[in-house]
């Protein structure tokens, strides 16, 4: 299985109706790695992710997959290589876990093929991978937030794409579930070589789980690279307008950002 893909963004300008949010970004997504986009609220990190995933039409610039513009691919074909889990998907009421995960198979099915053995296997594998087999026949409503998020990721996995975008997959989850989700995504990356690009809020978890960090400020890419190289107190000051001390994470030996507020500073 060839999962080598070159995904490149050049001169990207994007946003909503008369409001430009991304002001010219160039980047290349590192293959088979986990990349995390960090930045302050409203800096455009989510817009960048959505534009790369074709959810927003760019006003200027090129987004290419293996040298071909992503909007030149037939949409189903693109969806077999690039998948996205957006931040607020709609849960149809009364849908079972297996049904929801199965809907991720859409791009692999044609009008006449219907459900094939491959589809059933992919759904089964995805549910097994996310540890949700035991919930397969339950309604989504019966699950907790963390379990639900695992179901959504399983749906994205069932899509079996080599590149997977995730928009804040850990938001609203307890720390336990955040770590669990990020562990599972790391598993996915290591086992299948899936290229993962996600937006995360927690900068320290980003530093721990990312192979590569894209730091975005005011719609521009201001730094990128390995967390250990990129995450400095200057960068944190620049991106988040926050004073901080960077130490080494005693668990993962990655950078750990200790914020400095106005209070409780011993000096």
């Amino acid at each position: 299985m060839s999962n080598k893909h070159v995904f490149r963004v050049e001169g990207l300008v994007s946003g909503y109706e008369n409001k430009t949010i991304i002001h010219g970004i160039d980047l290349e997504i590192p293959e088979n790695k986990i990349s995390v986009i960090i930045g302050a609220n409203g800096c455009g990190k989510s817009t960048l992710l959505k534009t790369m995933a074709k959810l927003i039409k760019p006003t200027e610039g090129d987004i290419t997959l293996n040298g071909k513009a992503i909007n030149k691919y037939p949409s189903k074909q693109l969806a077999r290589t690039v998948g996205i889990l957006p931040q607020t998907p709609v849960v149809p009421d009364g849908i079972t876990v297996a049904d929801l995960v199965g809907r991720g198979r859409f791009p692999h099915q044609t009008l006449f093929s219907g459900w094939t053995k491959k589809d059933y296997e992919a759904v089964e594998d995805a549910m097994e991978f996310m540890n949700i087999i035991e919930f397969a026949n339950l309604d989504i409503d019966e699950l907790s937030g963390g379990q639900r998020q695992r179901v959504w990721i399983a749906m994205a996995l069932a899509q079996q794409t080599d590149i997977l975008f995730l928009d804040e997959p850990t938001t609203f989850l307890d720390i336990t579930y955040q770590v669990e989700i990020l562990d599972l995504l790391t598993n996915l990356n290591q086992k299948h070589g899936t290229t993962i690009v996600m937006v995360l809020h927690d900068i320290n978890l980003s530093a721990r789980y990312a192979d590569h960090i894209f730091a975005v400020k005011d719609g521009k890419l201001i730094a990128e690279g390995k967390p250990a190289d990129v995450l400095t107190s200057e960068l944190v000051k620049n991106v988040f307008e926050l004073d901080s001390v960077i130490i080494q994470d005693p668990v993962s030996a990655t950078p750990l950002v200790i914020p400095k507020g106005r209070y409780y500073v011993n000096d």
Binding site: L55, L78, R80, G83, P89, V90, D93, G102, F106
Partner: protein, 348 residues
């Protein structure tokens, strides 16, 4: 917190993607359908005998009164089944596209648009036959749908469900005042329109069925073809886009099919309410939200409910008959309230 059900043995892996008891529900549906059809042929102001039924069905002794009645009822029944199925599918499509569990063709203003054109036709062009109604109603329904869709697509995010529903409601209100304005000064139009306005399948002739069938086939085909994509769309536009669906295009297609189905039915039988809601919600409770199963079952349920209502109307109104539109409203309204109260009406 999680009730672990012991129903995830490896044996039923593939069954997970087929609703529980699907085949039983389907079988029960077909049995009910047959019973309803027989009832529709036999019952009415005049109850026919077994011999007359057989004569009518086999086109023997067609001179006898009973056999004649049966033959009339055959076309009426077939017409009723078509109307029921068409309205139910139209309902599923509109509900899915607008992500509004209470969406009915009427919510997008489609019914009112059809009515306006029919009234204008009666009033200004003295139109009075089904063959002419159908085109007027279809044109009216389509223009309204395009208009509502156009307004609903303006602004950020395109044709979102909420904008579609609002545009539909506003358009519907405006159009129905136009209908009244045209009708009130014109007695002839009012008479004609009144007859058409209460939905009825009593006028269902082979001629209307022949007009109906091509539209029904096109509508059903679009519904079946777009079912998997609509399943993806139900997860939100973003997820759907990520799965390779083009939401705008898909919505236009599905609404198109919904408009054709509902427009033609409305043209031929008059506005018949509640079928789209009743059929789809009862089936949603039974088989869940997967449209690959929901669409055919809803069509079956719609056909049964409408035909059954027609029979009930004939019995209650005997020796005359109550129009089916009145019966569906009578059956539909309380059941819907009941469903809503039990909060079992599943939102999309």
């Amino acid at each position: 917190m999680i009730k672990l059900k012991s129903d995830s043995s490896p044996l039923d892996k593939n069954d997970r993607h087929v609703p529980k008891h699907f085949s039983i529900i389907l079988l029960a549906g077909f049995i009910l359908l047959i019973v309803t059809v027989i009832a529709s042929l036999v019952l009415g102001a005049r109850v026919v005998s077994y011999q007359e039924l057989m004569d009518g069905l086999s086109f023997q002794n067609v001179d006898s009164y009973g056999a004649n009645v049966v033959q009339k009822r055959i076309s009426r029944t077939v017409f009723g089944l078509c109307c029921g199925a068409a309205l139910a599918i139209s309902g599923v499509l509109m509900q899915t596209v607008t992500r509004n569990p209470l969406a009915d063709p009427s919510i997008l203003g489609v019914n009112t648009g059809a009515a306006l054109f029919v009234v204008a036709g009666i009033s200004f062009f003295q139109i009075s036959t089904a063959g002419q109604y159908i085109w007027l109603a279809l044109i009216g329904a389509s223009i309204t749908a395009v208009f509502v869709f156009g307004i609903g697509s303006m602004g950020r995010g395109g044709a979102t469900p909420i904008k579609l529903v609002l545009a539909g409601a506003a358009t519907s209100a405006a159009l129905s005042s136009l209908v009244t304005a045209i009708m009130i000064p014109n007695l002839y139009a009012m008479d004609q329109f009144r007859f058409w306005q209460v939905g009825s399948v009593g006028s269902g002739s082979w001629q209307s069925i022949i007009i109906f069938i091509p539209f029904l086939i096109v509508g059903i085909m679009i519904a079946f073809i777009s079912a998997p994509a609509l399943n993806a769309l139900a997860l939100g536009d973003d997820v759907a886009t990520g799965l390779g669906v083009r939401p705008g295009l898909l919505r236009a297609f599905a609404i198109g099919a919904g408009v054709i189905l509902c427009g033609v039915t409305t043209a031929l039988a008059g506005p018949i309410g509640f079928i789209g809601l009743l059929a789809t919600h009862s089936m949603r409770l039974l088989v869940g939200s997967d449209l690959r199963f929901l669409i055919p079952l809803s069509a079956l349920a719609g056909a049964i409910i409408l035909t059954f209502s027609d029979v009930a109307g004939r019995l209650i109104g005997s020796p005359g008959e109550l129009e089916v539109g009145i019966i569906t409203a009578f059956i539909g309204a309380p059941i819907l309230i009941l469903l809503a109260k039990k909060s079992k009406v599943r939102s999309l």
